[in-house]
Amino acid sequence: MTAQQEFELLVSRYYSTLYQFAFSLARNEGDACDLTQQTFYAWARKGHQLRDRSKAKTWLFTTLYREFLERKRRQLRFPHFELSAVDPDLPRISPATVNELDSAEVLRSLAQLDETFQAPLALFYLEDHSYKEIADILGIPLGTVKSRISRGITQLHEMLTRDNPNTPKKGTA
């Protein structure tokens, strides 16, 4: 298989889940697309360094997560606001996803979780990675991954179940 064929295969296989992971981190479509593209650009540039090709999936998710952290650290494109303070500017969903408001609601709740829970929980719900792989991607011990997932689920559960169903949903259209 040529490098280009491998690249195309990886894109077909993972671009969708990488985008979902990126969206859960970045909270908007534009930055999620940007992160996903940047991840594959990094693969084209540096993927050849990976000796064990079976770890390509973990490599891609690790790279995306690190790219996100790097951007966040530099505060270039991901300024941290309390979501309640910027409700009018909440992520706009493209026409293609307008009919998935429930998904947006779940993502909105994920975005409101404590930051330490967001990435582990997003990877948990993608169901594409074992706990060990999640630990590798996030660079934290296995026990910490399990603990953060449990605590994150608890917090998400509380968040979603305490919502008053009559409260109009904001910022999702």
């Binding site: 894109v11 671009y15 979902q20 996903t36 084209a44 690190r66 608890t154």
Partner: protein
């Protein structure tokens, strides 16, 4: 295992995913089957989990993203110089070996290859610039250290504080003059890698003896070299002396 512990384990249950072979999980599932109250809670929790997972994974990438990604593909220019010999490398190595044998026969009394620290530093840093392969790719610095130890390269190195805070990129065992040198790559951010080479001091008697770094420029990389204990360290990265100093305090 009490009911509370079982709940905590069951909370993370994902049927059909690789981790469901966890023995603790099997035990918790058995307990849920025996304990009606725990069973009811588990059923409710699974319904919640399914709903969240389904909503989460319904999110579709915008149309055109895949095409954009595919269109940006440009093959990397790779010059891998060790551990991946292709036919041309082998042919070149064979030719070099013949030349070497002839050379040895003719110039038997000529001085040996330069084994100085300067030659060492020049060689490893230039090779890092030309392209390299990592034996292990991970962000986990402990994992890199374990890999190096398992392959009998220097693994008891001491990292300066700021380097300990960086995520790893990977590591490799590099050979120089038939001796093993540890290479640890760090991601300093913005796609700028830092390379740390660790060699045994006894292999490089003329290396800088002090723990204070000496700086030098090799090609596009700046290097800092120092010694502590029985190790010689060379840190290389794209940037000036001030840039490297940030990782050595």
């Amino acid at each position: 295992m009490n009911s509370r512990q079982a709940r905590e384990i069951l909370m993370r249950y994902r049927p059909g995913v690789a981790d469901d072979s966890d023995p603790e999980l099997a035990q918790a599932l058995e307990q849920a089957a025996r304990d009606p109250e725990l069973g009811r809670w588990f059923e409710h929790h699974r319904a919640f989990q399914n709903a969240v997972r389904d909503r989460f994974t319904q999110l579709s990438p915008p149309a055109g993203l895949k095409d954009k990604i595919l269109a940006q593909y440009r093959p990397a220019e790779v010059v891998v110089w060790w551990q991946r010999p292709d036919f041309r490398t082998l042919a070149a190595a064979a030719a070099a070996a013949i030349v070497l044998l002839v050379g040895l026969a003719v110039f038997r009394d000529r001085p040996r290859e330069d084994q100085s620290f300067l030659a060492f530093r020049n060689r490893i840093v230039r090779n890092a610039q030309r392209g390299y392969a990592m034996d292990i790719t991970t962000t986990n610095l402990d994992e890199i250290r374990r890999y190096l130890a398992a392959h009998e390269a220097s693994a008891d190195y001491v990292l300066p504080g700021p380097l300990q805070q960086l995520p790893g990129d990977g590591g490799a065992v590099v050979r120089w003059q038939n001796r093993k040198v540890s290479m640890v790559c760090f991601d300093s951010g913005n796609h700028n890698d830092l390379y740390l080479f660790v060699a045994r001091r006894s292999d490089l008697p003329d290396a800088p003896a002090a723990p204070e770094p000496e700086f030098s420029r090799i090609g596009k990389l700046t290097t800092a070299s120092w010694s502590t204990g029985d190790k010689v360290y060379v840190l290389a990265g794209k940037g000036d002396e001030q840039f490297l100093r940030r990782y050595l305090r």
